[in-house]
């Protein structure tokens, strides 16, 4: 890689050991991908919690902090594994709680804002077209690339933190024009009425093309103008694009999509493809969607766990969910979990949505995502959970290692299931 004089000085250790080691690490990653240079970033978003980092990661963080590592661009954190208010009731490990508190203190010492949200793109920072950032989790990255036209690769915890410390990231992948062009076309010919429908579209496309560099272009039905928003009942809203992106990233490991007439780099199908010849054309009609919902094994049809999480809910999702429960009660023996950010929970409290959800019997957790909760496998066993029902296609996919049997349903169906305790 070509280094600037400033980067040469960093490698030589003139800005300290922490900066030197962070840049060396980034250099090794950049060279793997054939990057020619670094690009400056304006913002970093990192995953860092004790459940994923473990004792080894915490030890590394402690040592790095002791070498005076500091974020030099605004840096925020992703959802973590504890909502401290609920840890004891959920049977989470007190020793791990203490480690998580130490980990948070370490990050704050490094000038990282511990915001604990996976919807930073809805609640904290919206980069502009062409702006380079270093973000993770995957849902944040695909949203940044696709909806904002900003530029980020999937940056895992250590990579995003290294970028925060050096203020730059290797230029490969979605920082380069050539990887941002569409590679396949998806024709949406179904009405997408629910967030789960958008997630199901992401599942269909992602499962068929598991490739970081596959970039689907969503278009309307062939011969009918090609703009999905003309075919859908209305233009898609942020929460719908969020569930679509999260599912594409989860099932397909994808980091970018286009939607003709909707996303900034797709004024037309031709512009979105940028001269690429699509490798595939997928048609998603109502029957394809129904096949997704029909494809789940319902086991004994008991519904003891319903989850609204992954990504955290926006304020608008909190409102919709509060209204859907509308005075109803969660079935005895069924537990409902909702996860959101600190800020959204606070606003939901001011507006009464939080009280509506809690009086229905739902547990609202802040600063976490359900699937990364510490001790989740043990929690599953202790509660006798087998089926997990959710309107999030992403969480239905990623919670598998904890041995849940997962089932995707539309939001209102999830609410009905929660109140009846039965799957149908």
């Amino acid at each position: 890689m070509r280094l600037t004089p400033e980067e040469e000085a960093m490698i030589a250790g003139r800005r300290g050991e922490a900066v030197r080691d962070a840049l060396r690490y980034q250099l090794a990653v950049g060279e793997f991908f054939g990057a020619e240079r670094f690009v400056p970033i304006t913002n970093a978003h990192m995953m860092g919690d004790i459940e994923v980092m473990g004792d080894g990661g915490l030890g590394w963080l402690r040592a790095t902090g002791a070498r005076r590592a500091r974020a030099c661009v605004p840096t925020t954190t992703n959802a973590r594994c504890f909502d401290f208010e609920h840890a004891a009731r959920l049977g989470q490990d007190a020793g791990e709680v203490a480690k998580e508190r130490e980990l948070i203190a370490c990050l704050r010492e490094m000038d990282v804002l511990t915001t604990d949200t996976c919807i930073n793109y809805q609640t904290l920072y919206q980069p502009h077209l062409g702006e380079h950032v270093a973000w993770g989790d995957t849902g944040t990255v695909i949203y940044a690339n696709s909806v904002f036209g900003a530029r980020s690769n999937f940056e895992s915890g250590p990579a995003a933190l290294a970028a925060a410390i050096t203020g730059r990231t290797p230029e490969y992948g979605f920082h380069l024009d050539r990887h941002r062009k569409g590679t396949l076309v998806v024709r949406i010919e179904a009405p997408l009425d629910d967030l789960a429908d958008w997630g199901a579209v992401g599942k269909i496309v992602g499962e068929k093309h598991q490739n970081y560099y596959a970039v689907p272009v969503f278009a309307g039905p062939g011969g009918r103008g090609g703009v999905p928003r003309d075919h859908l009942r209305r233009p898609p809203v942020a929460d719908e694009l969020k569930h679509l992106g999260a599912a594409l990233a989860s099932y397909g490991s994808m980091g970018m999509f286009h939607m003709v007439g909707v996303t900034p780099e797709a004024p037309t199908l031709e512009a979105a493809l940028g001269g690429n010849r699509p490798v595939d054309e997928i048609v998603i009609d109502a029957a394809a969607l129904e096949r997704v919902y029909a494809g789940y094994d319902l086991r004994d049809r008991r519904a003891t766990l319903v989850v609204f999480s992954g990504p955290q809910l926006s304020l608008f999702e909190m409102k919709t969910l509060a209204e859907a429960f509308g005075g109803r009660k969660v079935h005895p023996g069924t537990q409902v979990f909702v996860t959101t950010s600190h800020g959204v929970k606070s606003a939901a409290h001011s507006l009464g949505y939080l009280q509506a959800l809690e009086s229905a019997g739902a547990t609202v957790l802040e600063g976490v995502c359900f699937y990364i909760l510490q001790n989740l496998s043990q929690m599953r066993i202790a509660n006798g959970w087998t089926n997990m029902i959710s309107n999030s296609a992403k969480i239905v996919n990623i919670i598998g290692a904890h041995r849940f049997n997962t089932i995707l349903r539309r939001t209102r169906d999830c609410v009905d299931i929660a109140c009846s305790g039965r799957l149908s």
């Binding site: 690490y25 090794a28 990653v29 793997f32 991908f33 054939g34 995953m47 860092g48 994923v52 980092m53 473990g54 004792d55 080894g56 990661g57 030890g59 590394w60 992703n78 993770g136 989790d137 995957t138 690769n153 999937f154 940056e155 895992s156 915890g157 250590p158 990579a159 490969y172 992948g173 598991q210 490739n211 970081y212 560099y213 990233a249 989860s250 099932y251 490991s253 980091g255 990364i372 496998s377 996919n397 990623i398 598998g400 290692a401 041995r403 049997n405």
Partner: protein
Amino acid sequence: MSAPLATIRVARAFGPVVEGEAVVSAEGFSPRYDLDRWSGLITKPGHKLEGTNIRDKVLFFPTAKGGIAAGWAFFDIKHKGIAPKAFVFGVTNPVMVQGAVFAGIPITEGWDPPPGEAVRTGDWVRVDPGRKVIEVLRRAQ
């Protein structure tokens, strides 16, 4: 040194030379979705390698799945002593590379020919990132 029984050329590679027993998967991989990060067993129900322990293996996966968590997870499993010797991907994503580099675990991407034709689970293989080759040294008994 006797000639290898088969050689796979890889497009991109990181890390020192290692040898180990091959595990060839027909399905992609995520340390977050598929792996029990305490035992090293692949536990996702229905995964084509369900029940396989990854410790000290050279793992061949066609693809990477989702998941930012690999960045810390590889370091975590190395710290716990249950890391594989190397990751060999057909197509991977940056997280897997960032995670493997951070943990000092060799990783490669892109293969010619695909392992299905050249290497089987149980074979003893050498991963040489510097030369960008994977060599089959002994066949499974």
